[in-house]
Subunit: 177 residues, 2 copies
DNA sequence: ACCTGAACACCGTTCAAGT
DNA sequence: ACCTGAACACCGTTCAAGT
């Protein structure tokens, strides 16, 4: 594990402990037992560090290589993975909302998603629409969830998430042909 | 117009010009021709100023008092209003994602939304599910849009937004028992 | 009621220098 | 390769004091 990876790992731990607003380069340096200026050997700017964190979460949330079940089950597990990856760190969803260029993991996820929709019988247009709509939903739901539903039990949030997902899947199904 | 409102208005203008990350109390003070410490007479903290900005945008995006058309048309115009209000300021959607407690405008919007769904024949459960799903979608779509679709022409983004909305509305319709 | 002046404890970042 | 030390231009916020 490179020093760069150690910095990245520490940053993710710190994010989970203190949240996005309190994630500062100075605190991160302190946690690593190092001066703030030392970080700039590994990441040229805080923005690039945040991008690496985004990529890490996106990769963690990417769809499985060997999926099973029908396409609706695959959508459920892929969307569930995305949400899970963002929930794994405090403010994870809000962090994901700050990136500008989608990284390799985000693009791979998008491709996998559209592939599932296409093989289920959707046209290229419908597949892309479906994926974009699902992505917006998952992103929006999880941001809302992390910001304002800390009081709601996890099981209830899971149920709400799946219900909304089913609503959209129903819409996709009804749009075939 | 109270001085407080003038400060709020200046903050919204500044947000639109420089974006959320560069919206600092010091820059805001400069724009008002005043020292930073003077702001604290009107807002006890930057967080409370941001909350007031959120409430302003939420109110601007609230549904019209006299709606017309069938329920799908009403959903379209209400969701469109929400998106429009967030698009009115740079990073508007990301700002909306930072609030913790929903203000009066957000709650009124939510109530109006569920009322439309209920009067269309949805059960209380389905109505609430529909509103939460639509809200997550609009939020997620608009964040994505402001962060990463500045190159895509407005007309195309509008079309994408409406298509996703229709997909969800189709799902809601199909869920009417 | 509204603002200034001065201060405090922070930020991200650069750069020469050390090992 | 990795880090320190010192510095720079910033932050949000408090508080006594002015008008």
């Amino acid at each position: 594990m490179s020093r760069r990876d150690e910095v990245l790992e520490a940053a993710l731990e710190l994010l989970d402990e203190v949240g996005l607003d309190a994630l500062t380069t100075r605190r991160l340096a302190e946690r690593l037992g190092v001066r703030p200026s030392a970080l700039y050997r590994h990441f040229a700017s805080k923005r690039l560090l945040l991008d690496a964190m985004v990529e890490h979460i996106a990769a963690r949330g990417a769809a499985p290589a060997a999926p099973h079940g029908d396409w609706t089950a695959q959508i459920h597990s892929a969307a569930g993975n995305m949400r899970e990856a963002m929930l794994a760190y405090r403010d994870g969803a809000r962090l994901m909302a700050t990136f500008v260029e989608p990284g390799p993991a985000a693009q791979a996820s998008w491709n996998w998603f559209t592939g599932v929709a296409r093989s289920a019988g959707a046209s290229r247009e419908l597949a892309e629409l479906a994926v974009d709509t699902l992505t917006s939903y998952v992103q929006g739901f999880t941001i809302e969830e992390q910001a304002r539903k800390s009081g709601v039990p996890r099981a209830r949030r899971d149920k709400e998430f799946r219900a909304g997902l089913d609503l959209i899947i129903t819409g996709i199904k009804a749009s075939f042909s």
